[in-house]
């Protein structure tokens, strides 16, 4: 019983379920699934003039986004802490070998403790990955007008060509990060 709750979901369960979310949010209240918008609303809340919206706009667009993001955090707590998978993520042997060659030693949990820990943040390579990567996520998603959820799920579901272009950009950048920057940073 416990194992059923802690084991990860295979793609043929998770894929169709995740595909339902754009439609769910549309039917719930004309909302477009997209989490990078939440970052813009959080900047507005913190007082950034560039993203400031009127009180009416905030009630219409900002509040639901924050409620959704707090929900994701709680979902992560339930699925990643309370019912956490005790096994390492079942990546392929080839990936494990590639990452070992880059110096990754910890393969337990969802992220490697070698890179994503508070002590790693004090090293220049850890800071470059944790903070530099984070900065690019925020900057790039705001510039592209959406992220993996907004373009990858919602935009694609609505058959919008700009979202397909953004998705191509995500992968081009991902290859640069994977094949050029990570080896440089972890060398």
């Amino acid at each position: 019983m416990i194992e059923a709750l802690t084991s990860p979901w295979p793609w043929y369960i998770a894929g169709p379920l995740l595909g339902l979310f754009p439609a769910m949010l549309l039917l719930a209240g004309n909302r477009l699934l997209g989490v990078s918008r939440t970052l813009r609303h959080m900047c507005a809340l913190a007082g950034a003039r560039e993203f400031r919206t009127s009180a009416a706009d905030w009630r219409a667009g900002g509040a639901w986004n924050l409620a959704f993001a707090v929900g994701i955090l709680c979902g992560g707590f339930l699925a990643g802490t309370v019912f956490a998978n005790p096994e390492p993520v079942a990546i392929s042997d080839a990936t494990r070998a590639s990452l070992s060659a880059l110096g990754i030693e910890s393969f337990s949990g969802l992220v490697p403790a070698d890179l994503f820990s508070w002590s790693s943040l004090l090293t220049w390579r850890g800071a470059a990955i944790i903070l530099g990567g984070g900065f690019l996520i925020g900057f790039g998603a705001a510039w592209a007008g959406g992220c993996t959820s907004g373009h990858g799920l919602t935009g694609i579901a609505d058959l919008q060509l700009p979202s397909l272009v953004a998705l191509v950009g995500f992968f081009l950048g991902g290859f640069v990060g994977t094949y050029v920057l990570l080896p440089l940073l972890l060398a």
Binding site: L20, N30, C74, I91, G145, A166, F171, L172, T178
Partner: protein, 136 residues
């Protein structure tokens, strides 16, 4: 009630992306290295479901729970999708996370990702400052 439904849908979404392990740095590395089919198989099943359900809503002109017709604004064409997309992709590969997974990972106990979330907010704010000089 208004906000509760979004909190509940968000919680389900957070459980889904965490349990499918697409929030995992390891899984994202496997994807970018083409060393496993898990992520691609997930996309290949999520996308058709998303397309079919959203297209049904549009074609049938379904209404929301409050009875408002569903309307999806069209995106403008431009260069922002490729330029912003590439920068975003670099951040995705380095951290293994994108905005949704950032919240889920922090919830799962990977608290160092709070620093990534803070940096992502700084990046978003910086874009806001530079928006008028960037090509779109």
């Amino acid at each position: 009630m208004g906000l509760l439904i979004y909190f509940v849908i968000g919680t389900l979404f957070g459980i889904g992306i965490t349990k499918s392990e697409i929030v995992s740095w390891f899984r994202i590395q496997e994807m970018f290295r083409f060393q496993g089919i898990e992520m691609y198989a997930l996309f290949a099943t999520a996308m058709p479901v998303a397309i079919i359900t959203v297209q049904i809503i549009k074609r049938r002109q379904l209404r929301t729970l409050d009875g408002v017709p569903v309307a999806i604004p069209a995106k403008q064409n431009g260069t922002r999708y490729i330029s912003g997309g590439i920068l975003f992709g670099i951040g995705w590969a380095l951290t293994g996370a994108c905005p949704g997974p950032l919240f889920a990972l922090v919830g799962s106990g990977a608290t160092a990702l709070l620093a990534t979330l803070a940096a992502a907010l700084l990046g978003t704010w910086t874009y806001g400052r530079l928006r008028h000089v960037l090509p779109h």
